[in-house]
C-alpha cells in the first residue's frame, strides 16, 4: 500500500472515529474545542525547565483516550511524523543552552531539560488536536467555529478542504500508480516528471473545484454558511464536563501536582 493510500485510510479512520456514538463524541463541540484550545495554551505556557509540572498535563489526553475508547498506539502510528517537528526544534537546545540545573540532587543539563520540555509540549498539543478531530465530526467542529464567529468563508473552506482532501489524494495516488505501471524499472518518480505530475494534479484540482462549485450553485448556494442549521443545545453534562476539565487543567497548570503527589507518596513511604 502506498503512502497516499495509508494517508487516505487514516483520514477515513479518523472520520469514522469522530462519527461514533461514544460518550465523549456527544459532548458539545464548542466545549471540546474550547477545552482543546485552553489545554494547548496551558501546555505551551509552561516555563522551559518545568518538566515536572508539564508531566501532569498528560492527564487530559490520557483520560480522553480512555473515555473515547481510542487506541493510543494507533494515534501515535498515525501522527508520529508531526512529532518530528518539535524534536528537530528541540535538538538544538543542548548546544545553545550549556547551563546546568540541580534536580533531586542530580546535575542535569538545562539544554537537555528544555529539549525534553519542548518535545513533550509538542507531543501533548498534537495529541490534544488529534483527540479533538477523532471525537468531533467536521461539521460539528465547523459549527463550533461559527459559534465563535469565525468568518463563514473560512469555515466553508475548512469544511470543503476536509471533504475533498481524500478525493484529491486519491486522484494523486491514481496518477502515481499510472506512472509506476508504465515505468516498472524506476524507483519512485523521476525528477523530470515531477513538474508535469504536479501541474496535472493542480489542473484536476481546479476542475474538481469548479465542478463542486457549480453543483453548489445549482442547489441554491449563495455563499451563506448553512450546515447544521439545527442548533446543538448545551446539556448539563456538557457544562459539567467543560467545567471539570477546565478546573483540572488550571489546577495542573498552577501547581506541580505530580511533584506534590510524588513528595507525599515519598513521605508516606518514608
Amino acid at each position: 500500500m502506498s503512502k497516499i493510500e495509508h494517508a487516505v485510510r487514516d483520514i477515513h479512520f479518523i472520520t469514522a472515529s469522530a462519527s461514533r456514538d461514544q460518550w465523549v463524541n456527544l459532548i458539545h463541540p464548542l466545549v471540546k474545542f474550547a477545552l482543546t484550545a485552553g489545554y494547548i495554551l496551558a501546555v505551551v505556557s509552561f516555563p522551559k525547565y518545568d518538566l515536572a509540572g508539564l508531566a501532569g498535563m498528560a492527564v487530559y489526553p490520557a483520560a480522553v483516550f480512555i473515555l473515547a475508547d481510542l487506541s493510543f498506539l494507533d494515534a501515535v502510528r498515525r501522527i508520529y511524523p508531526i512529532f518530528l517537528f518539535p524534536c528537530l526544534l528541540g535538538i538544538c537546545n543542548p548546544f545553545f543552552d550549556k547551563n546546568t540545573i540541580l534536580i533531586f540532587g542530580m546535575t542535569v543539563s538545562a539544554g537537555i531539560l528544555s529539549m525534553m520540555t519542548l518535545i513533550i509540549k509538542g507531543v501533548f498539543t498534537v495529541l490534544a488536536s488529534y483527540l479533538l478531530i477523532a471525537t468531533t465530526p467536521i461539521d460539528k467542529l465547523c459549527y463550533a467555529l461559527r459559534m465563535l464567529h469565525i468568518p463563514k468563508e473560512m469555515v466553508t473552506q475548512i469544511m470543503l478542504t476536509y471533504r475533498y482532501l481524500t478525493v484529491l489524494l486519491e486522484e494523486g495516488n491514481s496518477m502515481i500508480q499510472a506512472y509506476a505501471l508504465r515505468a516498472p524499472k524506476q524507483k519512485g518518480i523521476h525528477v523530470k516528471a515531477w513538474g508535469s505530475l504536479a501541474g496535472q494534479l493542480l489542473l484536476r484540482s481546479v476542475d474538481r473545484a469548479e465542478a463542486v462549485y457549480e453543483s453548489m450553485l445549482l442547489r441554491g448556494y449563495n455563499g451563506a454558511y448553512l450546515y447544521l442549521k439545527e442548533k446543538i443545545a448545551f446539556r448539563r453534562w456538557d457544562v459539567v464536563y467543560g467545567l471539570f476539565w477546565a478546573g483540572v487543567i488550571l489546577l495542573f497548570r498552577k501547581y506541580p501536582v505530580v511533584l506534590i503527589a510524588g513528595n507525599l507518596a515519598g513521605g508516606m513511604l518514608g
Binding site: 477515513h12 472520520t15 469514522a16 462519527s19 465530526p137 467536521i138 461539521d139 469544511m159 470543503l160 476536509y162 471533504r163 475533498y164 481524500t166 478525493v167 474538481r208 465542478a211 463542486v212 457549480e214 453543483s215 453548489m216 450553485l217 445549482l218 442547489r219 441554491g220 448556494y221 449563495n222 451563506a224 448553512l226 450546515y227 447544521l228 442549521k229 439545527e230
Partner: protein, 246 residues
C-alpha cells in the same frame, strides 16, 4: 396550470471566441416528456445541459425555462425549477453525510427545518437511500453515490431534471434500479448518455447531436433503430438490438 417547458431558439455557444461548440440549436420540450440526448464524444451534450441551467451565460440565441429567459437576474428561479445530476457523483456530493447532502438544497432555499426534513426523507424514500442516511459520502459505492446524487436533486422538487451520463460506472443491478426509478418520475427529463440501451429503456423521445447541431429529433424507437443514421454520426445500434439481429 403552470406549464413546465423548455424552449431553445437558435442557440450558439463556444468556450473560445469564434469556435462554436453548439451552433443554431432550436429545441422544445414539455412535461412529462423524457428525452434522450445522444451523440458521439465532444458533440456538446454536456455543454447543452449546462447552458439550460445557466452555468454559461455568454450564449447567443435564447433559452427559456417555463417561459422565463435564462439570464443572470433569473438564475435563482431557473435553478429552483431545474435539477441537474452531474456525470461524476464526487463533484455533486460535497457534504460529509448523505442526509446533509440531500438537505443542502432545501436549506439553501431557506425552507423551515421541518420541511427540509420532510423533503429529505421523501427524496431518500423515492431513491431507496433511507438506510444510508447517516453514512459518510466517501463510504458509498458508485451505485449508491449515483442514487444519492439523484436524491440531492429530488429534494429540490424540481419540475425539470437534467442528467449527464447517469448510467456511467453502474453495475447491471444498479443500472436496472436507476431505470425503474427514472421511469417512475413524472418530471420533464433530459438524459444525456452514450448508453443507448439506457436511453431506449427510459426515453420516449431522442435528440441526436453531431458537430454541435441537432441532426435528428423524434421517437426513440425510430432513431435508435436506424443503423445508418447512428453509424453516420459516430454511434452504433443499442446492444440489445444488435443481439436481436444476431
Amino acid at each position: 396550470m403552470k406549464q413546465v417547458r423548455i424552449d431553445v431558439e437558435n442557440l450558439s455557444f463556444g468556450y473560445e471566441k469564434g469556435q462554436d461548440i453548439l451552433s443554431q440549436i432550436s429545441f422544445h420540450a414539455e412535461k412529462p416528456e423524457s428525452i434522450g440526448l445522444v451523440g458521439a464524444n465532444g458533440v456538446g451534450k454536456s455543454t447543452f445541459l449546462k447552458l439550460l441551467v445557466g452555468l454559461f451565460l455568454s450564449f447567443r440565441g435564447s433559452i427559456r425555462i417555463n417561459d422565463i429567459p435564462v439570464e443572470k437576474s433569473t438564475l435563482p428561479q431557473i435553478r429552483a425549477a431545474v435539477g441537474y445530476v452531474f456525470q461524476d457523483s464526487d463533484s455533486q456530493l460535497f457534504m460529509n453525510t448523505v442526509y446533509d447532502d440531500i438537505a443542502f438544497a432545501p436549506r439553501n432555499y431557506g425552507l423551515p427545518e421541518k420541511e427540509v426534513q420532510e423533503r429529505t426523507k421523501e427524496a431518500m424514500s423515492l431513491t431507496g437511500t433511507g438506510s444510508l442516511e447517516k453514512r459518510q459520502i466517501y463510504k458509498l459505492s458508485g451505485g449508491e453515490k449515483k442514487l444519492v446524487s439523484i436524491a440531492t436533486v429530488l429534494s429540490m422538487m424540481p419540475e425539470i431534471i437534467l442528467m449527464d451520463e447517469p448510467s456511467i460506472a453502474l453495475d447491471p443491478r444498479n443500472r436496472r434500479n436507476l431505470i425503474g426509478l427514472l421511469n417512475s418520475f413524472g418530471q420533464l427529463k433530459i438524459i444525456a448518455s452514450h448508453d443507448l440501451d439506457f436511453i431506449l429503456d427510459t426515453c420516449g423521445r431522442t435528440v441526436l447531436m453531431a458537430e454541435g447541431k441537432i441532426i435528428c429529433d423524434g421517437p426513440t424507437k425510430d432513431i435508435l433503430t436506424d443503423r445508418g443514421l447512428l453509424e453516420k454520426n459516430g454511434l452504433e445500434l443499442p446492444l440489445s438490438l444488435q443481439k436481436r439481429e444476431l
